[in-house]
Point group: C2
Chain length 324, copies 2
């Protein structure tokens, strides 16, 4: 349903994104994209971001453009896929060229970095929301799954946790229209411009026994892995990786365990593969930290520096959870 005005709008703001990848037989501007695929696994995912639900109304448009693609690339990374193509559906209250210019700049910059081609889309008038479908390819016969964790495996996470949740608090507490600087700006950047762990995802293929991306909070997302694997785990709370800004701005355990939107990867790894993580740190330039151990006993537990063990509730963010 790309009409004259719509097609022109897409052409104007997203030109160049369609031709940057071989194999796009037919991209934006026709009814459907035609993509030449190799024999192999295709990965597809779809996420919608709605104003005031997934992002504050005053988010910079570049950040929104980046973020909506990043959350999808993160989903692809979590199954070990290399991103290839994307479709963008934009619902906008009005046609605002400046907004679109900035939105598309953020989208483009990230897409370019990973060689992702925009191959289709749709723009409509309505309350602001952005929906992206991303398609990727997985080497080999199996992607990373949620259900493969085994007792004895280590629990690992990329990067640092809690930054985005703390960043959101600082963003909401700031004087209106004031630009953030220093630590708060770093933390808000983690919220607005999450870096999908694409290299880590593909590097974990054939190594990790299970994986998920941390979008709803470590406790919630890890619990999904444990449930699907029929196992439990104990986390070493002192080991949860914190950024310097997070420490300086006094982030706490609540942010680390229940803060969503970090888009790091949480994965489980058989003990005999632990030394391969040095390779991941080096080649994929990805910090990884061992934060706990998978156990037979179901449920998620935490142990503090003093050796005290407590049960952890999943308790992440869930739009349609009862009572929320």
């Amino acid at each position: 349903m790309i009409g004259g005005g719509e097609a022109a709008l897409i052409q104007r703001y997203f030109h160049g994104l369609t031709a940057q990848r071989d194999g796009v037989e037919l991209g934006v501007g026709d009814d459907a994209a035609l993509l030449q695929t190799e024999t192999g696994l295709l990965a597809a995912c779809c996420d919608t971001l709605v104003e005031d639900i997934h992002f504050p109304g005053d988010i910079p448009p570049e950040a929104l453009g980046h973020r909506v693609l990043a959350v999808n690339l993160s989903d692809l990374a979590a199954v070990g896929a290399r991103p290839a193509w994307t479709l963008l559906s934009l619902t906008l209250p009005e046609k605002d060229p400046q907004w679109l210019e900035r939105f598309s700049a953020g989208f483009k910059a990230l897409a370019d970095r990973y060689g992702v081609a925009l191959v289709g889309g749709d723009t409509t008038q309505g309350p602001l929301s952005v929906s992206v479908t991303a398609l990727g390819q997985v080497a080999g016969d199996h992607g990373l799954r949620r259900g493969g964790a085994r007792p004895g495996d280590g629990v690992w996470v990329t990067g640092t946790l809690g930054d985005a949740a703390l960043g959101l608090e600082l963003w909401q507490e700031r004087e209106e229209a004031t630009a953030l600087a220093g630590d708060p700006a770093y933390l808000a950047g983690r919220l607005f411009r999450p870096e999908p762990r694409v290299a880590a995802g593909t590097a974990l293929l054939g190594r990790a026994s299970a994986a998920i991306d941390v979008s709803d909070g470590l406790a919630a997302d890890l619990s999904r892995v444990l449930d699907e694997s029929g196992v439990g785990a104990t986390l070493e709370l002192e080991a949860l990786p914190r950024s310097q800004a997070f420490i300086d701005e006094q982030g706490d355990l609540r942010h680390l365990l229940h803060g969503g939107d970090d888009y790091e990867l949480c994965f489980t790894l058989p003990a005999e593969r632990e030394e391969e993580m040095a390779c991941l740190r080096e080649h994929a330039a990805t910090p990884v930290t061992r934060i706990g151990t998978v156990e037979e006993t179901p449920g998620l537990r935490g142990v503090d520096a003093g050796g005290v063990v407590c049960a952890l509730e999943p308790g992440g963010y869930d739009h349609f959870a009862e009572g929320s």
Copy 2:
């Protein structure tokens, strides 16, 4: 980002849609779907329907579920693809089990009919809108394109035109909450439950020189084909196919030329292939009508029964057209 409540919701209402196709390595409930593809062309498209923009707020939920998938399957048909997988992103003001039950029933019935698997999705809270991505596979190396019409080709259309536009008028004019019957019910059904021309699309592969689906109106959509092909056409206005209900309810040329939402296919066909259309009528059970001729002179013209020729404006529906 399918959380506990979301996953349960998807499981509940869309269970059975994920497993009905071979090759779904990983479907709904994980971060991304993993699909085993043959070497070949993959077709992907994406359409979002927003309340009060694309459908009236009082549309039956079953009809909305059908329609949002149908418009995407129609896009796939327009490139000659056989539909395979779909991703559904639902934004809902509230969690209404009855609404979801009915919506998913409509979606499912159509998906089942074409063996389409739902392999991913997302539900969020917000103003009602529904976004679907559909993926399909195209036999051979080329899909149907918009740019291949040549002077001398016939202009053809499947089914009948204008029904959906007339149906919308009758729906809007009815007494509130009154069920339609007879002709108006038939015409509203064409609006709410368009039948994607899947069989026709695949049958036209290698035959039609260009194709598009009629979503914004014949004049607008055909003009896109003509523009991209660098040609023009003259339509025989008397030949435009009308349903009996359309005639009885006094539909006019405005509906036939500018009414959107019919989701018929409009295509151009080299003269030497005209006799193959008998086969399409028979094997794909698709009525097809020759409605005009492609010419070198750019632009779209109509000729009436008396031989009078007039220029036709594209003038279809376009959400972001200037002044609309």
